[in-house]
Symmetry: C2
Subunit: 402 residues, 2 copies
C-alpha cells in the first residue's frame, strides 16, 4: 500500500514534470497587446518569443522581416497559412512586415505604426516587472492633435501635444515645455503610439518624480514653401545627394520649429515661454535635429537630449574641435554648463556597432572638452523604442529642476 | 500670306486640340493627398481615375481590391511592378488593399486607416469645387485623445474628443455635446482621420452655420469585464451566432457609453450636461447603435442621427409597429416631436440596393407613423466616407438650435 502510494505520487510528479517541461517548451503564447481587436496572431510568450502567421495560399515564398530582428523564411502549412516563431526577443516594440513573393505586406492582425516612411506592423514584447509605461489608475494628461499654419512650409502642419493632468485643474498655472522628436521615417504620432510618452509622464508625475510639463511632438520632415520635397525618404545612406537633401530638410524644420511652432505653442497654451523652461530631445534623426537646433538656439533652449542620435557630425576619423564646432558653444565648459542645465546622450547596448561607436566618440569628445553631460546606456536594447522609452523615463525627471 | 497664316493657325489649333485630347486621355495624375510623405503612387486625375502600383517581383497574381470599387487583376510590368488604373471613381475616400498570391497587402505609399477590422490603405478622390472638408485659414478646434477607466468593460478605453475653437478662449462657457460613432470594423479615429469631422465643424462654426459644440468619438466595440470578446469581427453576415454576439457587444457598449463615457465627459469638460444639449449620431453599425441607445435613453438625448444605418431592425417582411417597437417611443408622434428635436436618416444613392431598401423601409415606416424626421439622400455616393461627411455637414447645423 505504501509502495503503491509512493509509486502513484511518483508517477504524478513525473507526469507533472513532463507537462511542465512541455508547457515551457510549447510556451505560454498570448495574443500581443499591439494586436487589433479580436486578432489571435501575432502571439508572444513569457520568454519573448513571437509566433507569426499570415495567409498566403498561392505564394511560393514568404519571409518575415523584423527591422531589428529575425529576417527569415516562413513555413507553409497545409491550411494555406505561413508560420514562424522567433527566438526570444528583447523587450519592447518591434517593427516588422511580411514579404510575400517580393511584395511587402503588413500583418492584418497587428495595429499599424508609422515607421520606415510607411505604415508597418509591430509587436510589443513585454518587459517582465516593468510598469513605467503601463497605463495605471493615476491622473491622466491629455494628448491633443493640433494643426498650425506654418509660413515656413506654406502648409498646415499637424502636431501632437501632451498636457499634464493638472493643466485642466490649475487654470492659472503655466508649464514648461519639452519638444520631443521622432526618428527617421517616423512621424509626430510615434512618441505617443510607439513610445507611450504620455503614459510615461503620467506615471512620473503621479510619483512626484517629474515636474508637470507640456510635451510637443512635431513632424520632423519639412520643405520650404514653393520648394520640392527634399529626397530624404527611402533606404538610408550617406550619398552626397542624400546628405544635401537632409541638410535642406533639417534647415526647413529648424525654421518651422523656431519660427512657426514655438510661437504657436506659446500663444495657444499656458507655457512658461522662456529658455529656462524649454527643452528639446529626439531619437535617432530627431537626436541629430535636437543637437543641431538647440546648440544653434541656446537663446531658446536650456535642456537637451539626444537619444541614440546626435552623433551624426562626427565621423570615425574626425575629432571634435570645441573652439569651432557648433559655433564654438563647447569652447568654454563653465559658460556652457551655466546655460545648458542638461545635456543627455544615450545609446542601447544592443544597438549596431556603427551607431554605438558614433555616440561613444561624441561622449569621449564631450568628456575631453570637459562638457558636463549625462551619458546613459540602455542595457540590452537595440535601436528600437524600448531604448527611447527608457531614455524619456530617465530624462524627464531631470528637466526644469532649477 | 493670308492662307498661309490661316493654315498655320489651323495647324496650331489642330496640334493644340490633339495635345488637349491626349492630355485628357493620359490624365493629369497627381499623387493622392492621402499618400505618405514622398510617395508617388497612388495617383489620382481630375476625372477621379486612380493609378495604382505595387512591387511584387516574384508574384504570379496580384489583384486590386477596393472595398466599394474595382476588384481586378493588375498587370505585371517589366520592372517587377504591377499596375492598374481604375475607371473614374466617385469622390471621397476609398479603402483598398492588394492581394498578392492570396495574401492581403497594404499599399506602402498610402496612409493607413482603420477599417474592415484592420489597417487598410485608402485613396482620396477629390470632389471638384467642394471645400466643406478642406482645412482653411479659420479658427481651429482641437482634437484630444483621452483614456477613461470603464467599470463596464474593466479596461482603460481610448476616445477622441473635438473641442470647438472657442473652448479655450471662452473659459466660462459650457458647450453641447455630439456623440459620433464609427462604422463596423472601424474605430474611434475614423471620424477624424477618414471623416475630417473636426475640419467640417471648424468650417461650419467659422461660417456661423453650426453652434460651437464638443464631439466625442468612442470605440464602438465593447465587452463586459471578465467576459470573452463577442465574436463580431471578420466578414459580415447574419448568422444567429453573429447576431447574438452583436447584441451582446451593443449592450456592453450601451452601458459603457451611458454609465462610463458620458459621466467622464461631463466631469472632464465644460459641457451642458442635459438631454437638450446632447446628441448622438453614427454611421452604418454606429447608426444602428445610435438608434438603439438613444431611443432607449430619451432621458439622455434629444437629437439623433443614423447615417447609412439604423435600419437593422426592420427586415423586408417586417412592418414597424409604432405601439410596441422601441418601447413604443413612436406611438405618439406629437409627444415624440416634443422630446426629439431632430431625427435624421440618410443613405447614399449609390449604396448597395439592400442597404437602400432597408433605410427606405424605415423612412416609409416613420412617415406612416407620422414621426417627424429628416430624410437625406447623398447624390451619387456609396457606403463610404463621402456620404457620411455630407451627413455630418447637413446634420451638425440642425443641432441644438432650440
Amino acid at each position: 500500500m505504501k509502495w503503491c502510494g509512493m509509486f502513484f505520487r511518483g508517477s504524478l510528479c513525473c507526469v507533472l514534470f513532463v507537462f511542465f517541461c512541455y508547457a515551457q517548451e510549447a510556451g505560454d503564447f498570448q495574443p500581443a497587446t499591439t494586436n487589433v481587436w479580436g486578432a489571435e496572431y501575432p502571439k508572444v510568450d513569457s520568454k519573448g518569443r513571437v509566433q507569426l502567421r499570415v495567409k498566403a495560399a498561392d505564394a511560393t515564398k514568404v519571409r518575415i522581416n523584423f527591422w531589428s530582428g529575425p529576417k527569415a523564411e516562413m513555413t507553409k502549412q497545409a491550411d494555406g497559412f505561413w508560420t514562424f516563431t522567433t527566438p526570444p526577443m528583447v523587450p519592447g516594440l518591434h517593427y516588422y512586415n511580411f514579404v510575400v513573393d517580393g511584395a511587402e505586406a503588413t500583418d492584418t492582425g497587428s495595429q499599424s505604426f508609422f515607421g520606415g516612411s510607411k505604415y508597418a506592423s509591430a509587436v510589443e514584447v513585454p518587459e517582465p516587472g516593468t510598469t513605467f509605461y503601463t497605463m495605471k489608475d493615476v491622473p491622466h494628461g491629455q494628448v491633443r492633435e493640433v494643426w498650425y499654419n506654418s509660413k515656413v512650409t506654406g502648409t498646415w502642419r499637424h502636431a501632437m501635444v501632451y498636457l499634464p493632468p493638472s493643466y485642466e485643474s490649475q487654470i492659472k498655472q503655466r508649464f514648461p515645455v519639452l519638444y520631443l522628436q521622432h526618428g527617421g521615417g517616423e512621424d509626430e504620432t510615434g512618441w505617443i503610439r510607439q513610445g507611450r510618452a504620455n503614459i510615461i509622464l503620467d506615471n512620473l508625475i503621479a510619483e512626484g518624480k517629474a515636474k508637470p510639463m507640456i510635451i510637443v511632438m512635431a513632424y520632423g520632415y519639412a520643405k520650404r514653401a514653393g520648394q520640392p520635397a527634399p529626397a530624404v525618404t527611402g533606404p538610408p545612406g550617406n550619398s552626397p545627394d542624400r546628405m544635401k537633401a537632409m541638410q535642406e530638410m533639417f534647415s526647413a524644420f529648424e525654421d518651422d520649429l523656431t519660427q512657426a511652432l514655438i510661437p504657436f505653442v506659446d500663444k495657444t497654451y499656458r507655457t512658461l515661454a522662456n529658455r529656462e523652461n524649454r527643452a528639446m530631445a529626439g531619437l535617432s534623426m530627431g537626436g541629430m535635429q535636437t543637437y543641431q537646433i538647440t546648440l544653434k538656439h541656446l537663446d531658446l533652449f536650456s535642456h537637451i537630449g539626444g537619444f541614440s542620435g546626435a552623433a551624426g557630425f562626427l565621423s570615425a576619423d574626425q575629432k571634435m574641435n570645441p573652439k569651432t564646432d557648433y559655433n564654438g558653444v563647447f569652447a568654454d565648459p563653465a559658460a556652457f554648463a551655466k546655460k545648458v542645465k542638461l545635456l543627455w546622450l544615450s545609446i542601447g547596448t544592443a544597438e549596431p556597432e556603427r551607431m554605438r561607436a558614433g555616440i561613444h566618440r561624441l561622449h569621449d569628445a564631450l568628456t575631453e572638452a570637459k562638457i558636463q553631460h549625462v551619458f546613459y546606456e540602455s542595457p540590452g536594447t537595440d535601436h528600437e523604442w524600448q531604448t527611447w522609452r527608457r531614455d524619456l523615463h530617465g530624462f524627464a525627471p531631470r528637466l526644469f529642476q532649477k
